[in-house]
Symmetry: C2
Amino acid sequence: MHRHEGHDACQAGVGDMLARAESVCRERGLQFTPLRREVMEAVAEAGKAQGAYDIAETLSAPGKRVAPVSVYRALDFLMQQGLVHRIASRNAFIPCAHGHAPGEGVVFLICRSCGGVDEASSEELEDGLDRTLKRAGFTPAHSILEVEGDCGACRGRQEAG
Amino acid sequence: MHRHEGHDACQAGVGDMLARAESVCRERGLQFTPLRREVMEAVAEAGKAQGAYDIAETLSAPGKRVAPVSVYRALDFLMQQGLVHRIASRNAFIPCAHGHAPGEGVVFLICRSCGGVDEASSEELEDGLDRTLKRAGFTPAHSILEVEGDCGACRGRQEAG
DNA sequence: GGCGGGTTTGTTACAGTGTATCACCGCAGC
DNA sequence: GCTGCGGTGATACACTGTAACAAACCCGCC
Ligand SMILES: [Zn+2]
Ligand SMILES: [Zn+2]
Ligand SMILES: [Zn+2]
Ligand SMILES: [Zn+2]
């Protein structure tokens, strides 16, 4: 199985993610079509956040063009099912390796150096956010938490180099 | 002085923000040109996050066209000085009403209903985030924290209506 | 005043991201 | 067969952002 370099917190392999996607769709009575599978696979294999146009190019081959619009539709579907996430600060998409509940506060850790994106969730962080919002009299519906920086692997490599 | 409706946590008025912008530029030996002032004013007066093209249209008049690229340059300048913020999830810009330090963790509270955007900062939230990142072995450089939901004013209005 | 160099702005063109629309296909259900 | 519906293909388009170059502007200096 392919496993990308660069950041090591990617617990689930590509096969695991595809299997989970398939079972999620089956459970919910939804179609895991070839196109959706290919898009999921492309996102899962990349090892870093992929733009929709990147995915379209990856899936295209001489004689078989996949238009970006098709990729967007597949991505919309996969996002609704919680199988991929959109990284707003990059206009790009990553596979969800965790299968957390929707609405659960998750922080995306985006490495400047290797481009890898990990997810971190934390009770503590979520509590802090909830209290901050409550103090402001704000009722949250959806959060976007993204941090750009250097992942442990890349930091180690820099210090060693 | 104009004060928009919708959310009430906008402490600073348009005049205050313009005055601060002017003094910030003077202190730093930078030019607060007419264009930059107009863009700052447009962002400050809007009451909700404005797209660059919206601002360009606002500033344009028959016979005097302001191109989006000029607006982008002014916005880049104002962002560098911490006078406006970019809302990544909206591709839009708001004035900074607080004058906080750069790099300080600030959450943007985006109201679905009125479109207003407030800033909230919290020691507690920042500590939670720091600890979460530390646990993940991640060194942060820049954070994007945006929450979409309903502001207090709009929630009150909904319950009343 | 005239000159030189940095900054700001205007203008055009272009790249990147995302959506609307309509037609076509495949398949389940009648 | 026919119909309805979800998925896909294809084109066009809107929105967001940047590159490149020229013109204008400012300011210190001769
Ligand atoms: Zn996830
Ligand atoms: Zn890294
Ligand atoms: Zn601010
Ligand atoms: Zn509101």
